[in-house]
Symmetry: D3
Amino acid sequence: MVYLTRVERFNAAHKLWVDDWSEEENFGMFGKCANKNWHGHNYKLEVTVAGEPDPITGFIVDAKLLSEIIREFVIEELDHKNLNLDVPFIKKPMQPTTENLVVCIWKLLEDKIPSGKLFKLKLIETENIFVEYWGE
Amino acid sequence: MVYLTRVERFNAAHKLWVDDWSEEENFGMFGKCANKNWHGHNYKLEVTVAGEPDPITGFIVDAKLLSEIIREFVIEELDHKNLNLDVPFIKKPMQPTTENLVVCIWKLLEDKIPSGKLFKLKLIETENIFVEYWGE
Amino acid sequence: MVYLTRVERFNAAHKLWVDDWSEEENFGMFGKCANKNWHGHNYKLEVTVAGEPDPITGFIVDAKLLSEIIREFVIEELDHKNLNLDVPFIKKPMQPTTENLVVCIWKLLEDKIPSGKLFKLKLIETENIFVEYWGE
Amino acid sequence: MVYLTRVERFNAAHKLWVDDWSEEENFGMFGKCANKNWHGHNYKLEVTVAGEPDPITGFIVDAKLLSEIIREFVIEELDHKNLNLDVPFIKKPMQPTTENLVVCIWKLLEDKIPSGKLFKLKLIETENIFVEYWGE
Amino acid sequence: MVYLTRVERFNAAHKLWVDDWSEEENFGMFGKCANKNWHGHNYKLEVTVAGEPDPITGFIVDAKLLSEIIREFVIEELDHKNLNLDVPFIKKPMQPTTENLVVCIWKLLEDKIPSGKLFKLKLIETENIFVEYWGE
Amino acid sequence: MVYLTRVERFNAAHKLWVDDWSEEENFGMFGKCANKNWHGHNYKLEVTVAGEPDPITGFIVDAKLLSEIIREFVIEELDHKNLNLDVPFIKKPMQPTTENLVVCIWKLLEDKIPSGKLFKLKLIETENIFVEYWGE
């Protein structure tokens, strides 16, 4: 079993805000991330697929095809978007945190991997914060 | 003359949109950057100060003090903000492009450098795009 | 289960030296790391917490609070310090290697994580050497 | 159990090409990687060794010795080489993909680790593609 | 005057070899870079354009258009190619060194910049070696 | 004129301390950098040489030879050393700041460049602080 990772990127706006809470409660929990007019990030997404190298091509999965699939099903939905307003699979009351987002991306990709099996996602929000998810 | 650079970071939302243009013209010029609900970036700012090292301290400028000044006058204004809506010195019809932003930041910092002289700014928007400005 | 990582940094001096050994034995084993007047590194520490995203906040753990805890209990103890002389939890005959240090940091943080569970530490000494520890 | 990683680098040329296939089939599968006159990469190799820190030295494995072993048995064979033509352990019909290469490197290193046990290899081909292998 | 830089990448094979010299002389001068079956690199190219931000768009040059131009006139010619064999503008006796390559790329781009003026190229061959060129 | 840069690295300990000042004055000016038992950094040094590519070799300067020279005259003096105690060319009352260090390194290298001319040094102390020097 070898594990191949393909990296893609998207830039998006978001804010963290619980409608049922007061402004004070929101800023208490989320700090500057609660600013009402949004802020944003350059996100980096690492998609890892597990499989055995094909005896002829030496590929677990065609990395170019994998890139196209990630772009079609994930990047197209998220790039230059507002994660609170524009993304059909992020619906209130779910917050667009990196933790929730990585689980959503797993569902988008899980059954789209053309060969091998989706093994892990890593979603990097800033150079100081990232999340990882193994599907369960 | 030695040149010392201090790096700071901020995360912000923005969009590029000319009010006098049609939606078609805006998307024609700005592409996905015109998406109405904003997108965002992790910006990195490099501030370079020129000076002669002090014979006693060996400092051109105290890098910790320089950091505090950049944070007070620049990062505080831009971090977790919407560059189109929240920033007093970015006013329509000026677009919040990286080019315009770097010139605005120069004006904020120019007369705040405690020793030495502001020499250069570099503002990095993504790993593929950055701008530089020497003040003229 | 989602895994969130927060990155912090510290700069420290150290040397590797076994008191019971001759100078020759020390340099034979540790090379330049045995230089008596110390050398130093920019260390980078990645702290990974495992948990389920809170249904309301979307957080496994508040990354800002996690950062404050790492700074209070780890960075405060190590930053701008001499790992052989200044750090109460690194005592002779324990060498201040990255391997030993990562185990010490685990003990400092293990019961301080406010939600979720400490899952992994990664301690990066140079761009060519890093260690990882899962607590056992 | 602590895990220490040492990073080394090599630069090599390769192409992907199945002799039994037509030019059209090769370009259909491998795209530009099938260009007959080769292309190349700066590869980065991360070698992770698992072990318990020695109670005297604090080392799982001497990182300097580990570096020398990786250089002797791996880098020497691959650096400034053509992976299709120059490398004795990459023989047709095996393609010099990153997936196949990482398995070959495992075999080279598996019984050469002076203390601790080879735990994982990571081979980075570009900033967008890397593979990982745990030996099975 | 503001300076905007766009980064693009290509992967290529090359070797350094003077036909008029003996094998010994070639290896004496070029070391492993003279290996007859080629080696290769992941090259990174930074293209800097100088100009004044347009008062309406805030652009010196449309970075997306700049990217397309760099890809059409430079990357298309160099990516997944052999710099000694496949590139029409690198002809013997010119060696495909990074120094010579950056001057060639300048000539390709000089009169293709749609607004502003080509100011500088930076070509990064490895994480330890890069060249810069200002056109003269 | 093309400019070639070679990158080298060293790890060192230092502290900032003016003997004529009280402890309070020293900590007031230098903060944690005044800690008496030292701290340290992974320094990165970029050496830029200007010249015209040789018509036969395509080299401004042989990068491998340049690397050996930097290692012999600079890295050997600084790597795994204490900048306050071990380095003959850093003598009290000169503080071992990055600013002073870069000027010292210029003097070491200025007349050792085998072809071309020393153009610039960049010395990176942390990912947030670096200095540059053009020799005057």
